[in-house]
């Protein structure tokens, strides 16, 4: 599979993502500069984490207007796979490619730690190989990760199976104490109605290298590869 990782000014998880895709999952990866206009025939475009444009104004608000985004939007409209992690998720929401918005954490602090998340279903590209009864340990690191969408949109998303992950405790129970940022309904990741654009706040690429002692995030990349190759 060929992945394109977009590098915005201020992206800082770009190389972590490239490391996992290239050296651990052994896939072809190209770096796409935000001023590029050619997606080089990639099967999936990844918007990595970081602080594009310093997160100034609102996270993702400025990056959303980078030249490449026009092409990423067109790609997704034709059914191309797009995956945003953390700041990438924020950019996708700002660009209107995913419903909802990511607000300041309810405790008003940046928060970096391991959390547990549970896949809502295993019918999407990202969650296809994940056991929905099990909690995955994946780290978060963000100041603006409180997922919000209005009641109507939320109801629709729930009905359409657009919720990818919810924060839970280590036993898989979705409860308030496990919610690291005050996200609505403990939502940690979502997809669009077409189920080809995905976004999540936790960082699966930080939990995919055996050297770091946690490989739960690998399951997501394995899911993608299994589905696309099949």
């Amino acid at each position: 599979m060929k992945f394109g990782v977009v590098i915005f000014p201020g992206s800082n998880c770009d190389h972590d993502m490239i490391h996992v895709l290239r050296n651990i999952m052994h896939q072809e990866v190209v770096e796409l500069w935000h001023k590029d206009t050619d997606l080089q025939g990639c099967d999936m475009i990844i918007l990595p984490g970081g602080f594009s444009y310093g997160d100034y104004l609102r996270s993702g608000a400025i990056a959303r207007f980078s030249p490449i985004m026009e092409h990423v939007i067109r790609f997704s409209e034709k059914g191309g796979y797009v995956f945003g992690v953390c700041n990438g998720f924020q950019i996708l929401c700002e660009a209107g490619m995913l419903p909802g918005a990511l607000l300041h954490n309810d405790h008003h602090k940046f928060n970096c730690k391991n959390v547990f998340i549970k896949a809502e279903n295993n019918t999407t590209l990202i969650t296809s190989g994940v056991d929905t009864s099990k909690a995955l340990k994946i780290p978060v690191a963000h100041g603006e990760g409180r997922y919000f969408a209005d009641a109507e949109v939320l109801a629709q998303m729930n009905a359409n199976g657009q919720i990818l992950f919810r924060y839970c405790n280590e036993n898989g129970a979705v409860d308030a104490a496990s919610n690291p940022n005050g996200a609505l309904e403990n939502i940690a990741g979502v997809c669009n109605a077409g189920k080809n654009v995905f976004g999540m706040m936790p960082h699966p690429e930080r939990a995919a290298d055996a050297v770091l002692g946690n490989e739960d995030g690998r399951l997501l990349f394995e899911s993608i590869l299994a589905m696309v190759k099949a």
């Binding site: 444009y53 310093g54 400025i62 980078s66």
Partner: protein, 83 residues
């Protein structure tokens, strides 16, 4: 008497405003390169109880100096009106 205050807090002119600088730079991305020198501050509204407008202004001034603005980095201006 009840008053309302509208307060603008801005980064001091002499200081770098990293946020404003980044936003300025991105204006060309949305087709508006004519826009420059963006500076970003805060707008605060509040209500207060005071005997006179003078007293109200004094209280808002104190609130700005002590809490709302960081006097090392920000300047403020405000208007007070009867609610």
């Amino acid at each position: 008497m009840k008053f309302t205050a509208d307060i603008n807090i801005m980064p001091l002119k002499a200081l770098l405003d990293p946020q404003g600088k980044a936003v300025s730079g991105s204006m060309s991305n949305i087709g508006l390169p004519q826009i420059s020198n963006v500076r970003i501050g805060k707008h605060i509204t509040l209500e207060l109880e005071a005997a006179t407008e003078e007293e109200a202004k004094g209280m808002v001034d104190t609130a700005c100096r002590k809490l709302l603005a960081n006097m090392i980095m920000e300047s403020f201006e405000f208007t007070v009106a009867k609610a």
